[in-house]
């Protein structure tokens, strides 16, 4: 059995690529951004990118290089990114050996060309943890841990898409009301669907007015 997981289909790595990438999606682990400093893969853990709603000033990133990863299990220095539309790069892959800190402004001002799916983010986290520690953690465990922040990112995207960027503060207000009740629900697998239902109904109420 392979030590590290791989996708059944490379398309499963991505939530959106190219023109499909929503401009209002929050910056997230696994984003591929073409910056003035070259193409970068954002690797800062999804839970560590922000303090509250504000992004930290710097993030960790790996440079994207043109490298044909022959096999997922074994090429531990790389995070393959097949299908990410990076200009002049046929076989994009993040080089985990050259992780570096970059200014968040560099990422925000760059062109985001691909955003990873939840599965893609879990595979990235697994490879990253293994690269740094040689510990292989099951993706199912990583998925459970990340579910609250990835659910929040999804709801944020829905909110911004339906109500516009000006409504962003109200999104965070909604999650924080009642002693952060909805955030607490998002962290609890038994109540997460209730939180999702509550936010989506609120989006519908505000949108349909």
């Amino acid at each position: 059995m392979a030590l590290l997981a791989s996708p059944d289909d490379p398309d499963d790595l991505w939530q959106a690529v190219g023109d499909e990438v929503p401009a209002h999606r929050m910056l997230m682990q696994g984003d591929v951004v073409v910056t003035d400093d070259g193409p970068l893969l954002v690797v800062t853990h999804a839970c560590s990118m922000r303090r509250g709603a504000e992004l930290h000033d710097t993030q960790m990133a790996a440079p994207i290089e043109d490298h044909q990863v022959s096999k997922w299990d074994g090429s531990y220095d790389w995070m393959p990114a097949p299908g990410a539309p990076v200009p002049d790069v046929d076989n994009p892959a993040g080089l985990l050996r050259v992780l570096r800190s970059v200014d968040t402004s560099l990422l925000v001002s760059g062109e985001r060309v691909a955003v990873m799916s939840n599965l893609g983010i879990q595979l990235l986290q697994q490879r990253l943890a293994h690269h740094l520690t040689r510990v292989a953690i099951e993706t199912a465990e990583l998925a459970e841990h990340c579910a609250p922040i990835l659910s929040e990112a999804e709801l944020h995207e829905d909110w911004m898409g339906a109500l516009g960027a000006y409504a962003e503060p109200q999104f965070h207000d909604l999650l924080d009301t009642d002693d952060r009740k909805l955030r607490s629900w998002l962290s609890d697998p038994a109540k997460r669907p209730q939180a999702i239902t509550t936010v989506r109904r609120e989006i519908r109420r505000r949108r349909d007015g």
């Binding site: 289909d9 398309d11 499963d12 991505w14 939530q15 959106a16 690529v17 499909e20 839970c47 799916s117 939840n118 953690i137 099951e138 199912a140 465990e141 990583l142 459970e144 841990h145 609250p148 990835l150 659910s151 999804e154 962290s187 697998p189 038994a190 109540k191 997460r192 669907p193 209730q194 939180a195 999702i196 239902t197 989506r200 109904r201 519908r204």
Partner: protein, 212 residues
Amino acid sequence: MSIQTSDTSTQLERDTTTETSTASTLETIRRLQRSYDELTGPVRVLHEDVAAGRRDVREWDLDERTAAKARLDALALLEELSTDRGFSWSDIARLSGVSVSAVRKWRSGEAPSPERRRDLARLAAFVDLLDEIAPVSDPASWMLMRLSDSHTATAADLYLDGRSHDLLEHAQGHFGVGELLERWNPDWRDETRSEWEIVTAADGERSIARRS
């Protein structure tokens, strides 16, 4: 010979034989053993017939509900699963066997293939059925939570492996988690064992730590 099957009946027979000879008692015991032995086969067959019948009727029910749901358009099905049931887009994609990107396109108005639309309809029908016939207060969380604390398998994993009937049987209380998982994968204990748990760390954030 009348066949006594309840514990009470057996106890009555035992009481009436207390004062009789040893030979008579042994004969009664042998007679009861033969009676129960003779019953074992028919009862097993009856049990299997009832289980098979229940399964057929439930499949029929699920098929009918799926057909009814399939008359809705994809947007209506997505709205039902996401807003009314509380599934994330990522979960809907996974449970429908497609990429998140495909779901995004459906949300934008692109029509799914008839097969994929039927998969969506079947998921919506399954959740309705779960809600209606089983004591599950929140079907979405029930499907996405671990079935056993120390193993990572979820009802969603079993659903994806075509175990919807077993899940409904389990949800209704016909058998426990152990049998459900055993039917799914005899090696589930080894293959899905989790040595990790999610804890709240000193900074108030969630961390993954080895199970204590």
